[in-house]
């Protein structure tokens, strides 16, 4: 049984590979950093379409839409006891851009480079941080991006102490690693909890940060214990070995729901699951085939069984909750219609095709289900299961036929998904911009790409939303993506917990509000 002052969560945290906010880009890490680091601004947990200040007390946007000035709250301290100044903010931006790790593009898309970063993101004084972008983006877009993990503020002093000398090379022109190696497992933040340890595939252990400027956390410790299996999490929850089970699957959800002393909570997440039909495959490249595929998914049965409680059928590329998201669901299982389309495509007897599938649920189950429904229309689907890295390697190399993937928004803004699904400037194998559209070898009609680009600069939120709504409809009808459902995050927890709530994204799954009876 877990101690009264400690929260233990069972959670599949095997995706964590680093805790450095300048490098981390994984969902579980987002949750950990969200609870242990602070950012200038954060999503309003009560209304995710709004952004509120976290370290920043207030901010202004210049009239030309290029300069953002943030005023910091006074008297802020890092967990180390050092004061939080605009210097630290500037340093955090600088190192993220210069390290140029996976999430760096979030910042560099605003025109930041290693060369200009010290100019574009700088401390005007100890309490003022000035940020300059290259185009007059919609402010909602910029601010939404700044709520991402990569914008977390690190303790410059502590990090610099641990920085390692490196020899500059062609790829990396700086003589320091900006503490990256140390920060992979180390901690230099100011959030409600400080990270004590992270052991890969085992646990993350956090302890209350006495210097936290906000509301003090209720519990002394929070432990994320790595548990992959839903049934294991449920068992441990029932036996009181954990307080929260984070990866429950439908069957276990039902069981937990029925158990006295247990409770469930859920929140839709920005992650959508889709089949990606590689346009390099001549059969899949036929528009009729792509459409037939959309008719060959038994959405209803999947929704009622395999993803019951953990997802909702969703067919458009913007997840519910993001600006402009619509809920059109024109497709349902219709074998006759699909056969008709296949016949039109000249494939009345179907064809054989492979699908790369990650070895986890509910993906495998869905794949198997689709395998059966495709067979009804004569399409023979061979499932190639693999580990995440393996299937992803193929997907990135565009050597798959069909890939069943999931896409979580990089930041809480419609542009993240719009870009990846509709922008593909160079469809050759050498293409630089490796969006999902590129990976799927989809030569996106210019009309769609342009709409997505235009929306980015639309300052009026309502108009911006309208553009996305229209775009979604078109993509739904024409794209070689069969979007199946949007993830709902569910957690089963012991009724002893008070104030436990899942946020709309992983970086809003806060634990500091939780208390125990």
């Amino acid at each position: 049984v877990t101690p009264a002052d400690t929260l233990v969560e069972g959670f599949a945290i095997d995706d964590i590979i680093t805790l450095d906010p300048g490098e981390a880009f994984e969902l579980s890490t987002a949750e950990v950093t969200a609870n242990s680091y602070s950012k200038l601004v954060a999503l309003d947990p009560n209304d995710t379409s709004k952004v509120v200040g976290e370290l920043a007390e207030s901010w202004t946007v210049s009239d030309d839409g290029l300069t953002y000035t943030f005023k910091l709250k006074p008297g802020l301290k890092f967990a180390s006891g050092n004061a939080i100044t605009a210097e630290d903010v500037a340093f955090s931006f600088e190192r993220a851009v210069k390290l140029d790790k996976s999430p760096a593009f979030l910042l560099t898309q605003f025109g930041l480079t290693g060369a200009n970063i010290t100019e574009k993101a700088k401390a005007a004084d100890a309490g003022t941080f000035v940020f300059t972008v290259d185009k007059p983006y919609a402010p909602s877009f910029v601010l939404n991006v700044l709520t991402a993990t990569v914008a977390s503020v690190v303790d410059k002093k502590v990090v610099t102490e641990h920085a390692k000398k490196v020899t500059p090379s062609g790829d990396y022109k700086y003589d320091t690693d900006f503490g990256n190696e140390w920060l992979k497992t180390g901690y230099a933040g100011s959030g409600p909890y400080k990270v004590l340890t992270w052991r890969a595939n085992e646990a993350v252990i956090m302890e209350a940060n006495p210097n936290f400027f906000g509301e003090k956390p209720r519990l002394k410790r929070v432990i994320y214990r790595h548990m992959k299996e839903s049934s294991g999490q449920r068992l441990a929850l029932e036996n009181g070995d954990i307080d929260i089970a984070r990866n429950l699957e439908p069957g276990d959800l039902d069981a937990v729901a029925k158990k006295p002393g247990m409770a469930l909570t859920s929140a839709p997440k920005g992650t959508i699951y889709y089949f990606s039909l590689n346009q390099k495959n001549p059969n899949l490249a036929k528009p009729e085939v792509a459409e037939a595929m959309k008719y060959l998914v038994d959405y209803d049965a999947i929704g009622a069984t395999l993803i019951k409680g953990i997802g909702e059928i969703h067919q458009t590329f913007l997840p519910k909750g993001q600006l402009g998201a619509i809920e059109d669901k024109p497709y349902k299982l219709d074998v006759a219609k699909a056969k008709e389309l296949l016949a039109k495509a000249g494939l009345p007897n179907g064809f054989t095709v492979t699908m790369d599938v990650r070895n986890n649920q509910p993906v495998t189950g869905i794949a198997e289900s689709v395998q059966q429904t495709l067979a009804q229309a004569g399409i023979k689907l061979e499932i190639i299961p693999g580990d995440g890295k393996q299937t992803l390697t193929k997907f990135r190399a565009r050597t798959h036929d069909i890939y069943i993937g999931q896409w979580g928004s990089d930041y809480f803004d419609p542009n993240s998904n719009a870009e990846t699904f509709t922008i593909n400037p160079d469809n050759s194998d050498e293409g630089k911009n490796k969006t999902l559209a590129w990976r799927n070898a989809w030569d996106v009609p210019k009309e769609l790409s342009d709409a997505a680009k235009g929306a980015l600069l639309e300052k009026d939120s309502a108009k911006r939303a309208a553009i996305y709504q229209d775009l979604q409809k078109k993509v739904l009808a024409r794209s070689p993506f069969v979007i199946v459902f949007q993830q709902t995050e569910v957690a089963g927890y012991s009724a002893k917990l008070k104030n436990f709530k899942l946020g709309p994204s992983f970086d809003t799954n806060f634990v500091y509000t939780i208390s125990k009876e």
């Binding site: 049934s231 069957g251 276990d252 009622a304 649920q361 794949a367 393996q390």
Partner: protein, 310 residues
């Protein structure tokens, strides 16, 4: 041929057991009969043989015996039904497929795995072992070093690595298991060859001018066969378990193939409430590998050269 003896009725018990067989065929059959008698005295071994014959029959007649299609289920209406539900003797799995039908069809995969591994690994091991043991010297040293290297690998880890490298799939799983299972056969064959190498009956053959190749092929190998057969039979159980382990880790047969280990893996998620999904294939594995073990045990007793002398 002694004319005084009343000729025995061919294929009768006495004919088979005759001390003075009149033809090659009779001698061979007689020997087989003696082995069979010794084998069949062992009730457990007979049970093992029965299990395996049953397995063969089931595999051969899978299409007739299985009440449902093993890969197509009824996700909407028949998901996770408990055993005994009308029409589903052993229940259904999470895709609404009939577990019994899957088990029946899965027997083919199980057989495929063991047979293929056996015909890949055993001959390799036999050749390497006999050549190494008979030749001695540096040939022996080199071959045994290679064998040692493969032996020093953690077997399952090596198989895992190989499957990871070749891509998951039943063919690759078979290959991986074969690659990891020949070294023990080589060791056995070598050890046995070494005991024969200096024996007088091999010296006698050498004195007839037989070439080393002939000696290995016609004189040494047949002697290693019986212990190899025993070993292989006993190993079949291990092979089944390894294949199931690979399947369990998601590296063996792919969905929707009804491979038993993979079935356990997919049933694992339901072990708390729908125990049968994982329990049934596990029981099937247990029974079949028990069958192989019983058979192997019986064969060992029957083929043991020490007892054959009496």
């Amino acid at each position: 041929m002694s004319t005084t003896d009343t000729p025995l009725k061919p294929y009768s018990r006495e004919w088979l057991l005759s001390d003075r067989p009149a033809s090659r065929g009779q001698a061979r059959l007689g020997r087989a009969y003696v082995i069979w008698r010794r084998f069949s005295e062992n009730r457990l071994a007979l049970i093992g043989l029965g299990i395996l014959i049953l397995l063969l029959v089931i595999a051969a007649l899978a299409d007739v015996l299985a009440p449902y299609n093993p890969v197509r289920g009824d996700l909407r209406n028949a998901r996770l039904l408990p055993p005994g539900t009308a029409g589903y003797l052993l229940g259904t799995d999470d895709q609404g497929r009939d577990i019994l039908s899957r088990l029946i069809h899965g027997s083919r995969l199980t057989l495929l795995v063991v047979v293929l591994v056996a015909i890949i690994a055993a001959p390799i091991g036999l050749v390497v072992g006999t050549v190494s043991g008979y030749a001695g010297g540096w040939v022996d040293a080199v071959l045994m070093r290679i064998t040692d290297i493969f032996l020093a690998f953690p077997k399952l880890v090596l198989a895992l690595a190989l499957v990871a490298a070749l891509g998951p799939g039943i063919e690759n799983a078979i290959l991986a298991i074969a690659v990891t299972s020949w070294p023990p056969y080589a060791r056995i064959a070598r050890a046995e060859t070494m005991t024969f190498r200096n024996s007088e009956f091999i010296s006698a053959v050498r004195l007839m001018g037989a070439s080393p190749l002939r000696i290995i092929l016609r004189h040494v190998m047949p002697l290693c066969m019986s212990s190899l057969i025993v070993r292989v039979t006993l190993d079949m159980a291990g092979i089944i378990l390894t294949a199931a382990g690979l399947g369990f880790l998601g590296l063996g047969a792919q969905p929707p193939l009804p491979e038993w280990g993979a079935m356990i893996a997919s049933g694992r998620r339901f072990i708390l409430d729908q125990w049968w999904v994982a329990a049934m294939p596990g029981a099937a594995i247990l029974i079949v590998s028990l069958g192989f073990n019983l058979l192997g045990d019986g064969l060992r007793d029957a083929l043991d050269p020490k007892e054959a002398g009496q």
